[in-house]
Symmetry: C2
Subunit: 410 residues, 2 copies
């Protein structure tokens, strides 16, 4: 008797018909003899509708009330899913965060899970009942409702899987797995059967919007295998029809590179003629950190005169305006030319095999050079190489790299 | 420092704009120095939408899950109302049934309130915070969510007023009070300033759909003055712009008759040729009681042959089909002619003054006779006289009686 946690996102429970189809997926796992806990998101559109109501009434809303309103969406779906399962002859009940309880910090709107009390749910699961938990929510020590922030249902599912000692957490969504790159750009993109937590984390935070970054971090920390799969397909004859995100050790054969990702929400800021004196970096980046702006790639060049330098770095497009304001207020930069460019893209190659293989970066640089694509900034980590390019080269770069690393489906 | 409970129905909180207007009413009471608790219904249409979802998925749904789904509507409104109050500079927080807690029986879908723990809410009210409670819901001793049945928010409001020792419970709705009769039939119908619980109870159960019957019963039992008033009007210069429902003793001048009501959801069943033997009534009405069908007016006539009788009685139109099925299965009635008629209306005159005034029924009978209206069945209580008429006479009867008892506005 193994336990599974199944999570269904908003599009997978968008209306009563979709909920019925999702219930069929749950019923299939119950028929296989598993103990099953289900985590559901709000029906697609509901959360946005509720957020809209809050904003209309009060743009600067009390996060506690916002949470009480917004968490209602998941409550609705959990009850409806329990009904759909009962209709299939399966014992089932809905759980709201406070009923478990799932205790969270009181950072309303972006709470973190502190504890999931498994006592009551354990009892019900062992009696053969399916638990249907409202995702994205919890309760504070003062009995107020909190939410985990957008996409938080993934985190709920992984946390529940860890708390219940589940064998696997299946995330049902509108794509059937994690791909080597965006199939809209490269039709030959290949679905990955397995991928390591580390790679998924790079892929998730680099723009493959399949899983919420926090949920992957938690899965890695708690060692919960996570499968991403489609709720709209009915694959036959495969134990893992989707992509399994798991420990590096559980993946027998590693590709050197597993994916090509790109993020367009990037902006480049260039400071020309920064005085080349000690402590200058702190003076530039201090105000940005104070404004809670994340700086990503950084490169510094010595200018020709030897007395000043040029500094280039990237922030997210969303943060650009605030970043420019912070820099323009900076006394030390009053003689510096501050330029920004939003027409950039960050393209990355990701692969855990890089650790033991040389030449990955070189292949990237050569491929781009052969296509006449200029690299503006480079940054690397143990398992990825990222470059900043002019946005117009996005598709060309992604396609060339996908081919250069031999990622096409066979 | 007095306490008030303000309740807003679905049309009064139908969208963010209406919620803002309702918040203005609350703010006005706070400005007058009252401690205020607010009870809200779901936004108009939301409850029906949620019920629809449940029915689509499972016509025979588990009432516990139905409750969990449907109670979400009120949770949304309570959070939004708290936000609207905060925007007006008023300290406010939302409360869901389980947070108070409001403990209910586990008759899901039609639970009764067992206890309202005032401890936590008392503390907040005394600190000057407005409490915004989600109506219509509570929690069982096993921590499952329950609802009180349609219109249950009125009951929540009155129960909360009793628990908090509030001076009055104001029910804001889409009409500005209780009228002497339906103004759509009699344009001269007059709004009543005050009405006794007993009269309101007769009026409520006789078709004046202003207040839920259970809430009036509770108000009478707990001695909570209830005011019915409009959330769409802004009356100036009156302490009680609506209709105050209160103890008989608190009403100085009693009218003999205070209202004319009518209910169209009536059906008449006539049994012709029932054997006139002892115990026959039990054999007729036993099966109806077993089928949970309420029988209202009953009249029995001796037939001309002296060996059999005719029995006439009424049930609600909704119950007619089930009633006919039960009677047709009845062995003792196999030689009886069973007829039904849905084209009937029950018209009633209600007034606490009847107790001490003779001739009220006589005025009714004479008025109807003068208009050539035949009375099919009569029933009376201490404070009302009801007659069953052919439905086509509804408007004529109501108008004639309204005039006969001098109920027009001056």
């Amino acid at each position: 008797m193994t336990r599974l946690v199944l999570k269904f996102g908003g599009t997978s429970v968008a209306d009563p018909d979709r909920i019925e189809k999702a219930a069929d997926k749950v019923a299939a796992e119950v028929a296989r003899g598993h103990q099953v806990a289900v985590v559901v998101s709000a029906m697609a559109g509901v959360t946005n509708q509720l957020i809209d109501y809050c904003r209309k009434i009060s743009p600067l809303h009390d996060a506690r009330e916002y949470d009480a309103v917004v968490a209602s969406g998941e409550n609705i779906t959990s009850g409806l899913m329990a009904l759909a399962l009962q209709k299939r002859g399966i014992a089932a009940r809905s759980w709201q965060g406070w009923q478990v309880p799932i205790t969270c910090t009181d950072m309303h709107g972006k709470a973190r899970i502190l504890d999931i009390d498994r006592t009551l749910m354990d009892e019900r699961l062992n009696s053969g009942e399916v638990a249907v938990l409202a995702g994205f929510q919890g309760v504070t020590s003062r009995n107020r409702i909190t939410t985990l922030g957008r996409g938080g249902s993934d985190t709920t599912a992984v946390a529940l899987a860890a708390a219940l000692g589940a064998e696997r957490c299946d995330i049902y969504t509108d794509v059937n797995g994690v791909y080597t790159t965006d199939p809209r750009i490269v039709p030959q993109a290949r679905k990955l059967d397995k991928i390591s937590y580390e790679e998924m984390l790079e892929m998730a935070s680099l723009g493959a919007k399949v899983l919420q970054t926090r949920s992957v971090e938690m899965a890695m920390k708690q060692n919960v295998p996570v499968q991403v799969l489609s709720s709209f397909e009915d694959p036959i004859g495969s134990d893992f029809p989707g992509t399994l995100v798991t420990r590096e050790d559980d993946i027998v054969e590693h590709q050197v590179v597993n994916g090509i990702t790109y993020t367009k929400d990037e902006a480049k800021i260039t400071l020309i003629g920064v005085p080349d004196i000690p402590g200058m970096a702190a003076k530039i980046f201090g105000p940005l950190a104070d404004a809670a702006i994340n700086v990503d790639m950084i490169v510094q060049n010595i200018a020709e005169d030897g007395k000043s330098t040029d500094v280039t770095f990237t922030v997210t497009g969303t943060d650009l305006q605030r970043a420019m304001e912070a820099l323009n207020k900076c006394e030390e930069l009053k003689n510096t030319d501050i330029r920004s460019d939003e027409s950039v893209v960050k393209v990355s190659v990701v692969g855990i095999g890089m650790r033991s293989h040389a030449g990955v970066a070189q292949t990237m640089f050569k491929t781009l050079a052969d296509k006449g694509i200029n690299i503006q900034v480079i940054s690397t980590s143990e398992i990825k190489v990222s470059v900043l390019l002019a946005a117009e080269y996005t598709e060309l770069a992604v396609r060339s790299l996908h081919a250069a690393y031999g990622l096409e489906s066979k």
